[in-house]
């Protein structure tokens, strides 16, 4: 079966960027979320948070501009925007865990219909694994968005009834942005808010293990 075109990783990031509001304090995780900074709407200012102790992180440093005492959570030299601040790691995590951060965007391996997130370890993977900041960030942030591909490379759904991968945090996800859809986690279940251009709600449901709730016509994802 030839699959229709799905959104690229960049397009997922582009769509997720539209969820950010002017003046928000935002943490971006590894992977697709990290691309979001490139697609911010022009008319808004967002203060990016980094768990090593930065608020107001700017663009990546250009060659020659790098200061290796000023890196993001991925070890990449970055810059600061006016109004930035620096603090220690405990305060950085206090901002997310304590509910001060407005939005966090993380990658995911699985999200359940209750909004449970699994994103730190693949079952059966070799080595120790590593948790990092994901559990603290997922547990306390006011709004958690997960960006990921809708299915694994083998086609297995990643939006599931119950996570089978090691959990990061329970009932923490608010919105899922994938290469096929935008989905909100609500007390009633997963609500299909938008579908990727060219896809129908039924086709998205076929590629989703958890049941999706449709509320009227489901519009196509807008990317800008």
């Amino acid at each position: 079966m030839t699959e229709k075109t799905r959104l690229t990783r960049e397009q997922i990031a582009q769509r997720a960027a539209l969820e950010l509001t002017d003046g928000a304090f935002v943490n971006l995780g590894w992977g697709i979320p990290n691309l979001i900074a490139d697609y911010l709407p022009k008319n808004i200012t967002v203060y990016f948070h980094s768990e090593n102790g930065i608020l107001g992180m700017g663009r990546r440093a250009k060659p020659g501009e790098e200061d290796y005492d000023l890196v993001d959570a991925m070890k990449v030299p970055v810059t600061l925007i006016p109004g930035a601040s620096i603090f220690h790691q405990a305060d950085a995590h206090l901002m997310s865990r304590g509910g001060h951060l407005d939005v966090a965007v993380l990658g995911g391996f699985q999200v359940s219909e209750k909004g449970d997130l699994a994103n730190w370890k693949i079952p059966g993977s070799k080595g120790s694994g590593g948790i990092g900041g994901a559990m603290d960030i997922a547990t306390g942030t006011k709004k958690l968005i997960v960006c990921m591909e809708h299915n694994t490379k083998e086609g297995t759904p990643k939006i599931v009834k119950q996570c089978s991968y090691p959990l990061t945090s329970l009932e923490c996800v608010n919105t899922i942005v994938t290469d096929l859809a935008v989905i909100d986690v609500t007390p009633e279940g997963l609500v299909l808010r938008e579908v990727a251009p060219g896809w129908t709600p039924e086709e998205v449901q076929q590629r989703t293990e958890a049941r999706l709730i449709l509320r009227g016509d489901v519009p196509q994802m807008k990317l800008a």
Partner: protein, 225 residues
């Protein structure tokens, strides 16, 4: 008053015994006490418990200690993509590892620093981290009991120290360093520069001298990648 300043890196770590519990500052290549780590490894220390966010970058940072088999147990959050010497030792069973969510790692050290014997948090509930921990519902939220993390020594990196041991840090090289300085019984700071008492404006001091027991000046050593 006895000076806290020592003249050499080897002298700075000379009295750290085998089997010690040691905290190591640093994150993302920034703020690692790399000169002190090298001195500690050179001294031939054995069987330490390391408390650190990560487990080295190849031979850099804590990597050399894993390569040489000097670490018995590690409490960490994210060993890291280039912690190959740690992973080799871990696979062979030479090193045991407790993984801790990064912010909870900070808070458990802060509890040790503050004389707090435990705290409840929602972080880790229902995950592998919760195994064996007391669970309680507080204000309708499931929480687990976390315990303090103590250490005999902290090896940290700061930017400037005055002769009393008041410290400042550069940018995001601060990370875990001020937290560990407070949590350990004895803190040894590697700094870029030592300045006279009074040269750091009091309101700019990040780690007050009460938390710092030994200071050594060294040219910063950084491992890329």
């Amino acid at each position: 008053m006895k000076s806290k300043i020592v003249s050499s890196l080897d002298a700075a770590v000379a009295d750290i015994p085998d089997g010690a519990r040691i905290m190591f500052g640093g994150f993302g290549g920034a703020g690692f006490p790399n000169n002190l780590i090298q001195a500690l490894s050179r001294k031939g220390i054995k069987d330490i418990t390391a408390i650190s966010n990560n487990c080295g970058t190849r031979e850099g940072e804590l990597g050399i200690m894993f390569k040489n088999g000097q670490v018995r147990h590690v409490v960490c959050s994210f060993p890291g993509p280039h912690a190959n010497y740690f992973q080799e030792r871990f696979a062979k069973g030479d090193v045991t590892c407790e993984l801790v969510p990064q912010g909870i790692l900070c808070e458990r050290m802060r509890a040790a620093a503050a004389g707090i014997f435990g705290f409840f948090t929602a972080v880790g509930v229902g995950t592998e981290v919760a195994i064996g921990k007391e669970e309680r519902v507080i204000d309708g939220k499931r929480c687990i009991l976390e315990s303090p993390i103590h250490a005999d020594f902290a090896l940290i990196k700061a930017h400037k120290a005055d002769e009393l041991g008041n410290l400042t840090y550069r940018l995001a090289a601060r990370n875990f360093n001020p937290i560990m300085a407070k949590a350990a019984k004895f803190t040894i700071a590697e700094v870029d520069e030592i300045v006279p008492v009074g040269a750091i404006p009091p309101e700019n001091v990040i780690t007050p001298a009460i938390f710092v027991h030994r200071i050594v000046q060294a040219k910063g050593l950084r491992f890329q990648g």
